[in-house]
Subunit: 198 residues, 2 copies
């Protein structure tokens, strides 16, 4: 005897989620069976609604239920400033700072020879097309502070240089909070290198 | 700007799952938006189907899509032997051993004064009713090997004593595999206490 078929099927579907193993899938399934039907139905409908209504913005590739997305369609945003990020979740992270008032361009990844991702797999052509419109004065390369993100930023910086557009990169240094002696040596070296007069 | 409403709603629903915080919920939502629609629809329908078709067995309270459940309805199972467990998932754990051929009774919990769970909150009345039918000769008390499980087993053992039914408890001792010096002292003490002649 294993679980009744509908439970086994639910466990199998939950196991397909990233980071969810057999034990977690079982725990989630039994938890959901204990919840009110409305709660399970709300999750099921949220899944389908998100899948059916969300698509990449035709301009920036951010995930949206309108087209263009709320940021690309907002006339108050500075259209001369463009922030290039790897993933839609990076847009949300930057928006949460309330410090950036330009627009975004999502590459949908980063250059990673080990994973077989080259420049042609990223949304670089659409980026060049946006730059050719001539309204963008500065591009902030906000790819991740890791090897792939750095490689992507360097590649784009070289590519954009002849276009005469100003390019910048997010500052590297110490994160807020914590102890100096807990900071890894690469971060500390970058913070020294980028020290600013006060 | 936060996530578009359908994504925000999906993240909120996923966050209600046990052990799923905001970051995990975001990761799961963005993962699902990247998967084919069939896969998301399969998860949504598995959720609803499990919720609609699964209910506790009217005899043993194991989760089932039939009534009685496949175990209670199987004439090849030994109806004189009854295994009492805390939760439906314990039935599955015991079934996986292929060593138990009797039937089950799920208490739906264990006595826990700290959580306000007393004997009246468990399925003890239905257990006594099954015993009164007179077919059960032995009851295996297979509650968890923790404080609540022990308290529940002791409570049931006292309750069943006057009924003249044989009661037993799962053996305590060393788990399979691993090193003796990694075993906690309570387990080791129990293993010594329960040592068997060879």
């Amino acid at each position: 005897m294993e679980y009744a078929a509908p439970i086994a099927r639910l466990i199998a579907e939950l196991e397909r989620l990233p980071g969810v193993g057999p034990k977690t899938a079982q725990r989630l399934a039994l938890h959901l069976l204990n919840r009110p039907r409305e709660e399970v139905a709300a999750l099921a409908s949220a899944l389908l609604e998100a899948k059916d209504r969300i698509h990449p913005c035709s301009v920036c590739a951010n995930l949206t239920d309108t087209d263009p997305c709320a940021i690309c369609g907002d006339p108050r945003r500075d259209e001369s400033l463009l922030c290039v990020v790897e993933e839609p979740k990076d847009v949300i992270a930057l928006e949460r700072t309330h410090e950036f008032h330009g627009r975004y361009h999502v590459l949908m990844g980063a250059i990673s020879p080990l994973s077989g991702v080259g420049p042609d797999d990223l949304r670089i052509e659409p980026l060049l097309a946006r730059l050719k419109e001539g309204k963008i004065r500065e591009v902030v390369l906000a790819t991740d502070p890791d090897v792939e993100g750095e490689a992507t930023a360097m590649y784009l910086a070289r590519l954009l240089k002849p276009l005469g557009v100003k390019t910048s990169r997010l500052a590297r240094g110490l994160p807020e909070g914590g102890d100096l002696d807990y900071v890894d040596e690469v971060t500390l070296a970058r913070a020294l290198e980028g020290r600013r007069a006060i």
